[in-house]
């Protein structure tokens, strides 16, 4: 049986995590179908058809998928599920929102945040903020998985899959989308950025967070991140939160500024290739995992760093 991957997209184009999820599907092996559920999705389906390893794109183009509600996307996936051995989605706010509904309706146990595929029924996932790795085996008839993007190298282009229209499922009409407030940013997406500049409580204020970190991020072409403490204190928006309960990132370079290194923060960034920590307190746990620790007052060090780049 084939594998179904649910694409994350904004109708016009695919989100990066779709490529990592496809890589996990490739590890399982077999035909991989990519489902794009949205409204006016020719842009996203064309991109999907060109991805390596995709054997068919399923296009569910209907008004009730314009807001990609959990209820409607789940109902659609369930209507298609009979033909599949595995159903995968990114472990992002999108995938985490609807995939548990799919698993519930199929009466199977979802496996969340898969970071490694051992075999067609055995997967590795982090537990306890990444302080332990559980290898779990599923006996369910369909394996339903959310895939953590940092665990799998994104697939490239190079496919030429056919695009097939699929019928929409009935509109559940349980929710109504009243709108979105999306922060416009020229910076790269936090989940896909090569460099992340992240700030913690040590920055002291929202003003300082913006004044010190934004120019550094711009100079490096980096995404901005924040610790939970910084989000809690209102220095940064919640969608910039890196950690166990926020985003999991693994960039080439992670610069932690004024971050102490709580367990839950480390869970979100400890797989970064190179970690830099700038903090005035040499005893903070962040230094234990940093490749390059700079014990200094961030109010002096960050402007100096911007000037030196």
């Amino acid at each position: 049986m084939a594998i179904l991957v649910i694409a994350e997209h904004d109708h016009a184009s695919l989100k990066a995590a779709t490529r990592n999820t496809l890589a996990a599907a490739a590890k399982i092996g077999g035909d991989v179908h990519l489902l794009v559920a949205g409204s006016n999705i020719s842009g996203a389906t064309a991109q999907g058809a060109a991805l390596a390893g995709v054997t068919k794109v399923l296009a569910a183009d209907a008004p009730q998928y314009a807001d990609q509600s959990a209820e409607n996307v789940a109902a659609l996936v369930v209507s298609l599920a009979g033909a599949y051995s595995h159903i995968l989605a990114p472990a992002s706010p999108f995938g985490k929102n609807f995939l548990p509904r799919v698993a519930a309706l199929l009466d199977v146990s979802q496996i969340s945040d898969v970071i490694s595929v051992q075999s067609a029924d055995t997967f590795v996932r982090p537990i306890y903020a990444g302080n332990a790795l559980a290898t779990v085996q599923s006996g369910d008839k369909v394996k339903v998985l959310t895939v953590r993007a940092t665990g799998f190298e994104a697939v490239g282009d190079g496919g030429s899959a056919p695009v097939e229209a699929v019928a929409a499922a009935a509109d559940t009409a349980l929710t109504k989308n009243l709108g979105q407030e999306i922060t416009k940013s020229e910076r790269p997406d936090l989940g896909a950025a090569k460099i992340v500049v992240s700030g913690g409580r040590g920055l002291g204020s929202k003003e300082n967070y913006n004044k010190l970190l934004a120019p550094l991020a711009d100079k490096l072409g980096a995404a901005l991140g924040a610790s939970r403490a910084a989000v809690d204190a209102g220095f940064a928006a919640n969608d910039l939160q890196v950690g166990q309960t926020g985003k999991i990132v693994a960039p080439q370079l992670y610069i932690a500024i004024g971050i102490s290194g709580a367990i839950q923060h480390l869970a979100g960034m400890k797989d970064s290739k190179v970690i830099v920590a700038i903090n005035k307190n040499a005893d903070e746990p962040i230094f234990q995992i940093a490749d390059y620790g700079l014990v200094a007052d961030l109010n002096d060090a960050v402007p100096e760093l911007i000037a030196a780049l």
Partner: protein
């Protein structure tokens, strides 16, 4: 309006767990435990709805061993009216089983709103709220940062990638609490005393007619690869030099 708040007892967020030498699990002996932090936020939201006169009763429910009574008492101390313990003994409860138990409780209690944490910080599965909503055939609003009830619906602001989404969900519905929904209060000592007298009923998976047999088998639990850190640089110039010439990342 009755609000049901499912809660979980988890290890304290600042405890760093150790993997057992035989790789069968993590060592939880003598580890500090308490309410899952996101469930504390869920309780707080429910209690605030009651204080505003929107909710009439707040019922907390937890599934697990009898020791879970302690987190239910904490929830009662911060303002929940009544508690239900689903005593499953020592059986491992996976998220699907928990959602089925909660569905059975919800069928009996008939709440208009269920609020729970978006994720438990032990297994990090993040499934129960959405799974429960689907089993009940209800709408959901996951990762909520603001909840308003009006006209038979919940207007919920949700945390999504890149910003916020505003969703209107028909009641009854399930809402899962994210970090910024509110700041939970601490229980006051007199309230802790009073909570001891609040009703706490016990039921079992068998009484609820739910099969809780685990579907997933844990083959092993291992240590993640250790990161070699601890390197220091002398100053900013040294840092820039090393990033350029040693790590070659800028």
């Amino acid at each position: 309006m009755k609000v049901l708040v499912p809660v979980k007892r988890v290890i304290d967020k600042d405890v760093r767990v150790r993997v057992k030498a035989d790789e069968t699990g993590v060592d939880l002996a003598n580890v500090k435990t308490g309410l899952n932090p996101f469930d504390e936020i869920a309780i707080e939201e429910a209690v605030r709805l009651k204080e505003k006169g929107v909710a009439t009763e707040v019922v907390v429910v937890s599934a697990g061993a009898a020791v879970n009574q302690d987190v239910l008492r904490t929830a009662l101390a911060v303002g929940a009216d009544r508690a239900i313990l689903v005593d499953a003994g020592d059986v491992e409860l996976q998220p699907l089983a928990v959602a089925k138990l909660l569905k059975a409780v919800a069928d009996k209690e008939a709440p208009q709103l269920i609020i729970t944490g978006k994720q438990a910080i032990d297994d990090d599965a993040g499934q129960v709220g959405q799974t429960l909503a689907a089993l009940l055939g209800w709408g959901q609003a996951a990762f909520a940062s603001k909840v308003e009830i009006a006209g038979g619906a919940a207007k919920v602001t949700r945390e999504i990638d890149g910003g916020l989404e505003i969703l209107e969900v028909k009641l009854p519905a399930v809402v899962t609490a994210d970090l910024r929904l509110n700041e939970p209060r601490y229980p006051k000592l007199p309230d802790v005393m009073k909570a001891k007298k609040k009703p706490l009923d016990t039921t079992t998976p068998a009484e609820l007619g739910v099969d809780v047999t685990p579907r997933l088998k844990t083959l092993k639990v291992s240590e993640p690869p250790k990161r070699q850190g601890g390197g220091k640089v002398a100053d900013v110039a040294d840092l820039v030099n090393k990033l350029k010439n040693e790590a070659k990342v800028i």
